[in-house]
């Protein structure tokens, strides 16, 4: 019989590695980050505040996806799938944004 090629990358270590992350600790971190973003909302400068708040949101999303959704343990192809989906949205955003802004004007944040 032919040696069959592993098609998608290395085998899944989730089943090999029985050590689960400490979910409660991750939950606490998420709540702390929520508090941080509420505090950041009080920054009077909207541009700085907004950037920081969405930075914190991105960190929260990364934590949820890595640990709760176990993406940390998934093969690269799956990560690539989600990144591709995100890139499509970014393509839409940066393709349409100049049109919307050029036609309608820019208010600043």
């Amino acid at each position: 019989m032919h040696a069959q090629q592993q098609s998608l990358g290395t085998s899944n270590p989730e089943h090999v590695d029985p050590v689960h992350p400490n979910y409660v600790a991750i939950w606490v971190i998420l709540l702390v980050l929520l508090g941080v973003s509420l505090l950041l909302g009080r920054i009077p400068n909207a541009a700085v505040g907004g950037t920081l708040i969405f930075g914190v949101a991105a960190v929260k999303i990364a934590i949820v996806m890595r640990y709760f959704m176990h993406m940390k343990f998934e093969p690269w192809l799956l990560v690539a799938l989600m990144v591709a989906a995100l890139l499509c949205v970014l393509a839409l955003f940066f393709g349409v944004l100049p049109d919307v802004v050029w036609r309608n004007g820019w208010s600043g944040r």
Binding site: Y23, L31, M65, C88
Partner: protein, 201 residues
């Protein structure tokens, strides 16, 4: 030559399952593919909102009327439900059915709490005259949070369906994809919350 001779002389030793070791089990892979397309749906909606926001300066005043307090509580509720969901998944992997069931129902309860708070919020806003037709900001607010709430309802249905089927061992594997779905709904809320509540106050 009859084409039957092309049948290979394979014995019955090839069992019907498993035929190969999939790198990702089908149920999880399928859910991830579905979530990738969901990224497009919510991403498209959010991208559209951000673009509109960039030329509507006056939305700053409109959006100050969202309820930050309830939004914050709801965020805590959803984050906690994500925790209970992942614990349900852990229990399912350990094949502890009673614990799985308990955590699933807890998650569903938190989802229901989220919906109740959301309903209160909606009625407060509509009573305050902020209906979807007053301005495009409120159109987006109701469309985005409404679509998100519909996804919560869908998650509740999935969880109750899984809880009912827990008598059978094989149904434990349904918990993993449902968990993925639920965390994704949480992720969407993590973006919607600063977008609709925090940066607007």
């Amino acid at each position: 030559m009859s084409s039957l001779t092309h049948l290979h002389p394979l014995s019955a030793s090839v069992s019907r399952s498993p035929r190969r070791i999939p790198v990702i089990p089908a149920t999880r892979l399928g859910m991830w593919i579905f979530l990738a397309s969901e990224v497009g749906t919510f991403g498209g909606l959010i991208a559209t909102y951000v673009m509109m926001r960039m030329w509507h300066h006056e939305w700053l005043h409109e959006s100050a009327h969202t309820l930050l307090s309830i939004g914050t509580i709801n965020t805590v509720v959803l984050l906690t439900s994500s925790l209970t969901m992942v614990l349900a998944h852990e229990a399912a992997e350990a094949k502890e059915r009673a614990r799985t069931r308990r955590f699933l129902l807890l998650t569903a309860g938190l989802g229901l709490l989220f919906l109740c708070l959301k309903a209160f919020e909606y009625s407060h806003e509509i009573a305050g005259g902020h209906t979807p037709k007053v301005s495009v900001f409120w159109s987006f607010y109701f469309a985005m949070t409404g679509l998100h709430a519909l996804h919560i309802v869908g998650g509740l249905v999935l969880m109750l369906y899984a809880t009912l089927g827990l008598r059978h061992d094989c149904v434990l594997r349904r918990v993993a994809p449902i968990g993925l779905y639920w965390h994704f709904v949480d992720v969407v809320w993590i973006i919607l919350f600063p977008l609709m509540y925090v940066t607007t106050h």
